[in-house]
């Protein structure tokens, strides 16, 4: 009777959680403080279910993946050995769920952009639901380092500017080698003699005194 079930619906996704209020933490009867199970149904895909740690792994993979998508970066999220992974594909996105039970093959779901947005909204709704009194692991979104952003630009495009710059520098350097260097002419003897006869007057007042 105390068991609570909450549902978060979007067009292509439905997330349901079951649990109990934690009376030791003064939760009301209409709250979930202890999560017993969850189920995720994506349209056209099989139902997924699991325990709290699986749901946390799903959040930890999908929400940062959505953040990367906002920056135009498609990068695998989730550990190789973890229960959930999400990666970009040509058609959209692929969500992989690896069961902790032995003999159960991994579940793979193909998502398009709309499905991904629905899934993210379901998870956001769950995390911000005041009736769910569970301390979810924090997910902090930070600006990406330049290196990760550079990877979204094709290699050819990234290398074009430095190659063009280096090429121009080399061409100009080679052209510079063919420009003749002007050689200073050696002063003649007559010039040397006339220079020696001239008295140098540095102070104009000395010059008037001589007159």
């Amino acid at each position: 009777m105390l068991k609570q079930s909450f549902r978060y619906d979007q067009t292509a996704a439905r997330l349901e959680i079951d649990g109990l209020p934690d009376f030791s933490a003064n939760h009301g009867t209409n709250a979930i403080g202890i999560l017993s199970s969850w189920r995720l149904t994506m349209i056209g895909g099989p139902e997924m279910e699991g325990q709290r740690d699986h749901l946390e792994a799903l959040m930890a993979a999908v929400i940062p993946y959505a953040r990367l998508q906002l920056s135009g970066v498609g990068k695998v999220q989730g550990n190789d050995n973890g229960p959930v992974r999400i990666l970009p594909t040509e058609q959209g996105h692929q969500l992989e769920l690896i069961s902790s039970r032995s003999g159960v093959p991994p579940l793979t779901l193909e998502l398009d952009d709309a499905d991904l947005a629905d899934l993210v909204r379901c998870l956001d709704a769950l995390r911000s639901d005041a009736r769910v009194c569970i301390n979810w692991p924090p997910i902090v979104h930070l600006p990406l380092p330049k290196r990760e952003l550079a990877e979204r630009t094709p290699l050819r495009q990234r290398l074009a500017a430095p190659i063009l710059g280096a090429g121009t520098f080399m061409v100009l350097g080679l052209a510079g080698l063919f420009v003749p260097i002007p050689t200073p002419e050696a002063p003649s003897q007559e010039d040397n003699q006339s220079d020696a006869q001239e008295t140098v007057i540095s102070n104009p007042s000395q010059a008037t005194g001589e007159r």
């Binding site: 709250a31 629905d118 956001d124 709704a125 995390r127 979104h141 990406l144």
Partner: protein, 185 residues
């Protein structure tokens, strides 16, 4: 139910965000996309401003428009940058608008929609966005020319719509803010 935890997703990671030039361009383009999806977008934005309690930041449509004019790609652009409060307000307004338009964004992104319908929807968005861009933006700028150029325009428009879909609602505020603060590559 006294012990209610505050969800981490709603805690702003960088509330003192001041946007750079590229981010200002992107934020204004996202607002422009909202306007092209919603014919009454200008009014809806003003309504969202009041609903979210940002009347002191943007008391009227002129003030809202003046802040958007910090986009360097605009025909009549303003110098300087937005304050942290103005930036936060614009991001939250955008996320609220995206939340309101989410069903439309979803339809555009879904691969399960009939092809002809999808094509017409994208065509309509393309036409409205082009009209708004031609009306308000400096058409001599390369970034604007890319937004009007066939194949490149389609990819950029899809990226704008996907951004709005993933930033919709209160959960999207942090994601969008972080992505706007990305350094220029």
């Amino acid at each position: 139910m006294s012990d209610v935890t505050v969800p981490a997703v709603l805690q702003p990671s960088q509330p003192e965000a001041v946007l750079g030039r590229r981010a200002l361009e992107r934020l204004d383009l996202l607002l422009l996309t909202v306007e092209s999806l919603d014919l009454n977008g200008g009014e809806a934005m003003l309504w969202a401003t009041q609903q979210l309690g940002f009347e002191t930041v943007f008391p009227n449509r002129v003030e809202l428009w003046k802040r958007r004019c910090h986009n360097p790609l605009r025909r009549s652009t303003r110098r300087g940058s937005l304050s942290a409060v103005e930036t936060e307000a614009l991001i939250r307004i955008l996320c609220a608008m995206a939340d309101r338009l989410y069903p439309m964004l979803r339809q555009l992104l879904s691969s399960r929609e009939p092809d002809n319908l999808s094509r017409e929807r994208w065509g309509l968005l393309d036409q409205r966005l082009r009209n708004l861009i031609e009306e308000r933006m400096n058409l001599r700028r390369g970034a604007i020319q890319r937004l009007l150029d066939g194949e490149q325009a389609r990819n950029l428009q899809r990226q704008l719509v996907l951004t709005l879909a993933l930033a919709a609602g209160p959960g999207g505020v942090d994601r969008l803010r972080a992505s706007l603060l990305d350094p220029n590559p």
